[in-house]
């Protein structure tokens, strides 16, 4: 054994520090995956049937609506607080604001959050923003893993979770005045752009588009009890790639909306609430009788 060792080390001692990989490797050029058209949906712009003015505003969801990294649900910058203030000021004077969202929540947690909502008289306006934590674990995994998770786990869960939610909201003993849901689609922190440094593939943007389309589809199936609002489009060009001129949604001098990897900053929260406020307008002001 040591004879071979001696030979090996002597040979090593005689060798240079020349790069053994100077010739490189065969270029395989696997590419960045299939392209996607982004996560925008054709959010219904037609007037919604008018609903009764809310007596309470209930917020469900994850850290985005819990405002976990922007001062909490009572902070003036919080999307949920801004939305509630807007609705109370314009359509539901005297309405209450309950935020049941929890940082880190996934879709399966919505049932628990709803269970924590006590029965109360009067119409309820529910604002829901969920699904980001179901998608987030796959942002930095392979396209194949992300697609498998979407088709095998996330999409089926999306349907069942929302079905269960609408069943609960239809429970007259808990929501005697009825409930209407503002369903938020997901924004893309990476601007539907595969540029660096994150290099989140267009295939994953396409999955996000499918997710958002599914939200719209579910909302359409529960049209009398919900509307969908498009958070995706407003964020394009303001995510982590906002300075990448090569990105399709690049806007010169665009303001950044991201605070950290996945959460919106104060400006981003203002944009989110603006989209939600417009949803409230459709329910209470620009509606059809």
């Amino acid at each position: 054994m040591y004879r071979s060792l001696i030979l090996a080390v002597v040979l090593a001692a005689c060798s240079s520090n020349k790069d053994p990989f100077a010739a490189g490797i065969d270029a395989s050029g696997s590419g960045s995956g299939s392209g996607g058209d982004g996560g925008a949906i054709d959010a219904p712009s037609a007037p919604h049937a008018c609903v009764a003015a809310p007596k309470r505003i209930v917020v469900l969801g994850d850290s985005i609506t819990a405002c976990s990294v922007i001062g909490g649900p009572q902070n003036a910058d919080c999307v949920s607080k801004q939305f509630a203030d807007y609705v109370i000021a314009h359509y539901g004077p005297g309405a209450t604001y309950e935020n049941h969202a929890v940082g880190g929540a996934v879709m399966a947690d919505i049932a628990g959050q709803l269970a924590g909502v006590s029965a109360a008289q009067g119409p309820t306006l529910v604002m829901l923003f969920i699904g980001g934590n179901d998608l987030a674990p796959y942002i930095f995994k392979s396209d194949a893993e992300a697609m498998t998770a979407w088709t095998g786990t996330i999409e089926p869960a999306l349907q069942s979770v929302y079905n269960a939610m609408f069943t609960t909201l239809a429970d007259a003993s808990k929501f005697p005045g009825g409930a209407t849901v503002v369903m938020n689609t997901q924004y893309n922190p990476f601007d539907d752009c595969a540029a660096g440094p994150y290099n989140v593939s267009l295939a994953k943007s396409a999955i996000l588009a499918e997710f958002n389309a599914k939200i719209a589809e579910i909302s359409a199936a529960h049209a009398t009890a919900s509307i969908v609002v498009d958070q995706h489009t407003k964020f394009l060009g303001h995510g982590h790639c906002y300075q990448q001129a090569t990105c399709p949604h690049y806007l010169a001098n665009a303001a950044p909306y991201m605070q950290d990897l996945i959460h919106a900053n104060a400006a981003g929260n203002a944009i989110l609430s603006g989209v939600d406020n417009a949803g409230a307008d459709r329910l209470y002001r620009d509606c059809t009788h």
Partner: protein, 462 residues
């Protein structure tokens, strides 16, 4: 005691790259360094406190020795090229060299014969250690940018001569140790797959800094010796008992993608971009058993052959335990969590041959040594954290006695077998090394290493 250790630190005791298997550094003492550390049977100077305390009985009167090893490490890593799965780009990585070119490792020892049969010794030395730095933007940065494991032994010893040429000795080893590990991190690794981001750039990257210390661990060295009546043949054996270092300290993980941390009342506990936590890293020090035999080949020539066995199999896993496992992002699984790095090191043997002669004068001694040393690390578990490999060492030394002083010089070079880690299904990193996730491509490449050691020592003998 603690103050003495602190003083020792201030004097500049530093660890060197372990170059005798794992992170074991037996080249302690000027004479021993010239003989390839083949001194377990015949080593009657203050360094016997480390090599074999029983040999202290052979040290006359009062002796004191100060030595400094200057270790010149050379480690070069060529990461294997690959295709970025995200961008399709072919990634070619420039070779990286270690950035620390000289490491000083002092030794200070003394011995005193109390009576014809009893002697005592006291020494400060660093038998285990590893210090390496690499460029913060190099191809190795996710594995290591800097590591420094230091152990500082303060060892009082006593030896006793027995009838029949036998002797025994023991030292108590009071060990201070500390550990620093720096790496680059990347936010996609928190929830994602490191293999999807083999060369993260820009704001994806951050730094991870772990630092801990263990102020006190106790081990012992037990030794025995025998010499023939005419003193021409000697046999020695010694055992260093194992121990576990528990390095307690802090971790600081910085990355632009980390969210601020809030408590239940929305009070900010930690700011965005950085997370700190308490850590404990447990590092075993192995049992080391040494056996040597020496022969006097005439009045002025001496030859010794030693065999060392080191139970490195005690180092199966490196665990970094995070105290609070704080959240990094508000998404499931995105938090600090305990990191387990599989080691599965093997027990090792090393053979050491030392030759010493005084051809012209007793005042001048010339020495040479040969070392064959196994590495405890197989290719499956090899990484730049401990870039060890099988080694062949050649040493030369000389000493010149001037009055009560002995001036010693030794040079050594260790030729280290290259490591060529090829892509395989079960190579290093495949069982989860970056945040417990498989990341084999980060380990694929060629590592070339070599070490030179210059030892300067001065001894005073009564």
């Amino acid at each position: 005691m603690r103050e003495a250790l602190i003083v020792a630190c201030v004097l500049g005791l530093a660890a060197q790259l372990g170059h005798a298997g794992g992170f074991y550094v037996p080249e302690i003492g000027g004479r021993a360094s010239g003989l390839g550390a083949a001194v377990v049977a015949d080593g009657d100077d203050p360094s016997a406190t480390f090599h074999n305390p029983a040999n202290l009985v052979g040290a006359d009167g009062f002796q004191i020795e100060a030595a400094a090893d200057l270790v010149l490490p050379r480690v070069t890593f060529f990461r294997r090229p690959l295709t970025d799965p995200n961008t399709g780009e072919n990634l070619h990585f420039a070779g990286v060299d270690n950035t620390n070119k000289v490491i000083a490792v002092p030794f200070l020892g003394a011995s005193y014969r109390l009576d014809p049969r009893t002697a005592v010794g006291l020494a400060v030395y660093t038998p285990f250690g590893a210090t390496l730095g690499f460029p913060v933007d190099g191809a190795q940065r996710q594995i290591i940018t800097h590591i420094a494991l230091r152990t500082i032994y303060l060892s009082p010893a006593i030896a006793r001569a027995l009838p029949g040429g036998f002797s025994i000795g023991a030292s108590a080893n009071l060990v201070y140790s500390d550990l620093v590990l720096d790496q680059r991190n990347a936010i996609p690794y928190v929830t994602g797959d490191p293999e999807q981001y083999p060369d993260p750039q820009g704001e994806l990257q951050g730094t991870t800094h772990l630092a801990g210390s263990d102020p006190f661990t106790l081990t012992a060295t037990l030794g025995a010796g025998w010499r023939s009546a005419d003193g021409r043949v000697r046999i020695g054996a010694s055992v260093m008992t194992p121990a576990h270092l528990r390095e307690k300290g802090d971790a600081r993980v910085a990355n632009p993608g980390i969210s601020a941390l809030f408590d239940a009342d929305n009070n900010q506990l930690q700011p965005a971009g950085v997370r700190t936590d308490q850590i404990t890293a447990t590092i075993p020090l192995p049992l080391v058993a040494r056996l040597g035999a020496s022969a006097r080949l005439g009045e002025r020539t001496h030859l010794e052959l030693d065999v060392n066995w080191t139970r490195w199999s005690s180092f199966q896993e490196l665990v970094v335990d995070f105290g609070h496992e704080y959240e990094l992002l508000q998404t499931p699984g995105a938090n600090l969590y305990d990191v387990h790095v599989a080691n599965a090191w093997h027990d090792t043997f090393s053979a050491r041959l030392g030759f010493e002669t005084s051809p012209w004068s007793r005042a001048l001694a010339l020495r040479a040594g040969l070392v064959l040393d196994q590495s405890p690390i197989d290719d499956r578990h090899f990484s730049l954290l401990t870039p060890d490999s099988d080694k062949l060492g050649l040493t030369l030394g000389a000493s010149w006695r001037v009055g009560h002083f002995d001036l010693q010089l030794a040079v050594a070079h260790l030729f280290v077998r290259d490591r060529d880690i090829e892509p395989t299904a079960s190579g290093p990193g495949s069982d989860g090394t970056i945040l417990n996730k498989p990341a084999p491509s980060f380990f694929h490449g060629v590592t070339r290493a070599g070490f030179s050691i210059l030892t300067f020592a001065v001894a005073w003998r009564q």
